[in-house]
């Protein structure tokens, strides 16, 4: 922190001298959480939930082109996120962990692939459909909400988790108590994401107070630096950040509701699959069902998202 600050000062002093703007060490890497302002939390290092995932043997899925590809390659390519603590995260040593990551490992093991042989591909939210359709990833696990529009391009197994929209604020902030207290506050989320479109459409805060960055970690960095007052998105993501930096951040814990119906907006996280691969979809649904019944799901949850203190119920699968 101190070094970052001094380096930042040096960089700015350089700029003011007209020797200008090449940030060098002074510019924090935007995608790396915990580096730009937050004291590096001990929880940054990845630990697994400890659920045992043994690769299945003799698996065959008739009529699944994706599975045929996986089998001949002997490995599986999974699209994931890397900057969501406790969900889809890559720590400084390159180790990956989190709820989504372990769900991805669970599916791989059911497909007969050793989780160690997973090739992870970091795919940004906006590119998910493209990468699934183009076959760059075999499946995608990363806070991927099931929607009818997306179902035109890809298909979904699951849901394996249901999240709701919430707010992350600074720990000492008592003025924000829910979505109705955002007027005059700067609210940050990922560019173009559904949560921020909702804030804009429902006029929860003024348009000039809406802040958008490519990643949530950039929003969290701005929250710690007091450039924004709240970060909004799915509570699962926010609790991950709060757990990573509990001395500075907290989740408000009041889900946004639809003004028309008074109900929360459920974000059903599904596993993104190729649109026409029904055989694989059925197999992944069956795998999830088995893991939910034998306690593996609960064990994965408790060892990842559950560490932030939030409990969760297993959602019913929506097979189609």
């Amino acid at each position: 922190m101190r070094i970052t600050r001094i380096a930042a000062m040096a960089a700015v002093a350089t700029l003011s001298l007209g020797l200008a703007a090449c940030g060098k060490e002074g510019t924090p890497t935007p995608e790396t959480p915990g580096q730009s302002g937050a004291p590096a939390a001990a929880s940054d290092a990845c630990t697994s939930s400890g659920a045992t995932l043994t690769p299945a043997t003799g698996v065959d899925i008739a009529g699944s082109p994706t599975f045929a590809k996986i089998k001949s390659a002997g490995k599986v390519v999974v699209g994931v996120k890397f900057d969501q603590p406790n969900l889809g995260y890559k720590d400084a040593s390159g180790k990956r962990c989190g709820f989504d990551i372990e769900i991805a490992q669970l599916i791989a093991s059911k497909l007969g692939i050793d989780p160690a042989k997973i090739e992870y591909k970091e795919v940004a939210s906006a590119n998910r459909e493209t990468s699934i359709k183009g076959g760059e990833v075999d499946y995608y696990v990363g806070t991927y909400s099931i929607t009818d529009k997306r179902k035109a391009d890809v298909s979904f197994a699951g849901p394996y988790f249901i999240a709701a929209q919430d707010l992350l604020v600074r720990k000492d902030d008592t003025s924000i108590t829910g979505s109705e207290s955002l007027k005059g506050k700067k609210v940050c989320s990922a560019t173009g994401s559904t949560p921020i479109q909702r804030v804009r459409d429902q006029k929860l805060t003024e348009d000039s107070n809406i802040v958008e960055f490519k990643t949530y970690s950039e929003c969290v960095s701005q929250l710690i630096d007091k450039k924004v007052d709240a970060v909004t998105t799915d509570d699962a993501i926010l609790k991950g950040y709060a757990a990573q930096n509990p001395s500075m951040l907290k989740v408000v814990g009041k889900p946004f509701t639809d003004p028309a119906t008074g109900k929360a907006y459920p974000e059903k996280y599904g596993i993104g699959l190729s649109h026409d691969d029904k055989a694989l979809r059925d197999f992944v649904n069956a795998s999830l069902e088995a893991a939910e019944k034998d306690g593996t799901w609960q064990k994965i949850y408790d060892g990842t998202l559950g560490k932030s203190g939030s409990s969760a119920t297993i959602p019913p699968l929506e097979k189609y």
């Binding site: 020797l19 090449c22 994401s193």
Partner: protein, 218 residues
């Protein structure tokens, strides 16, 4: 074809609002970088060594620094010093700081085309450095650099899309919005391309007009 048109009509407000911010960024940063670039050029040809050194160093650093870093410095590093610049002004400053280095270089090339005898003659008439530059040299320099200057402005128009990564809701962010709404990505990107073509047209027309009016016969 129908779906292609619907991507535009269904999201017209979003697309128009974002392009309007792009236009604002372009106009503000365009004017500001022409002014700052001209000042830098004046420094680089001035008789004061300190000013010349400043101009040279500025151009050396800014012209060779990725624009994204200039943005990141303003948006992520400066707040660490408790200096709070809002996102839109930050974007204007970053684009201006970066583009003015290119404006300066284009204009300096123009100055080199003005025969040195002109400046000497002006000095012999008793003109000061400021008068020589503003009355004799720069007007001729501007005429010769219309095509490269329009290229610099054109590049800046496209560079505005970097601001989308730093919380300015301009045309570069449209794709993220429409993708979240599940729109076809090919159509979305085609419409953004068409939007930029429409924005570039006035620049091309301006270049033609200026070249015709200002063409130097030598």
């Amino acid at each position: 074809m129908n779906e292609f048109l619907h991507v535009l009509t269904d999201n017209w407000t979003t697309i128009w609002q974002h392009f309007w911010v792009t236009i604002q960024l372009f106009l503000i940063a365009g004017v500001a970088s022409l002014v700052l670039g001209t000042l830098l050029t004046a420094m680089r040809v001035s008789p004061v060594p300190a000013l010349r050194g400043f101009g040279t160093t500025y151009v050396l650093l800014l012209r060779n620094c990725p624009l994204t870093l200039v943005f990141a410095l303003l948006v992520f590093a400066v707040p660490k010093l408790d200096v709070n610049i809002d996102y839109f002004p930050s974007a204007c400053i970053a684009l201006t700081a970066y583009t003015s280095a290119f404006v300066c270089e284009a204009l300096r090339a123009g100055i080199n085309t003005v025969p040195v005898g002109q400046a000497e003659a002006a000095r012999a008439l008793g003109m000061t450095f400021g008068q020589v530059l503003s009355l004799i040299v720069l007007p001729q320099a501007f005429r010769t650099v219309v095509p490269p200057m329009v290229s610099v402005l054109n590049a800046m128009l496209k560079n505005t899309t970097v601001a989308a990564g730093f919380s300015v809701a301009e045309a570069g962010a449209i794709q993220a919005y429409l993708s979240e709404r599940g729109e076809n990505q090919i159509y979305t990107i085609l419409w953004i391309m068409i939007g930029f073509l429409i924005l570039v047209l006035p620049l091309i027309v301006m270049q033609r007009r200026l070249e015709n009016r200002w063409g130097v016969a030598r």
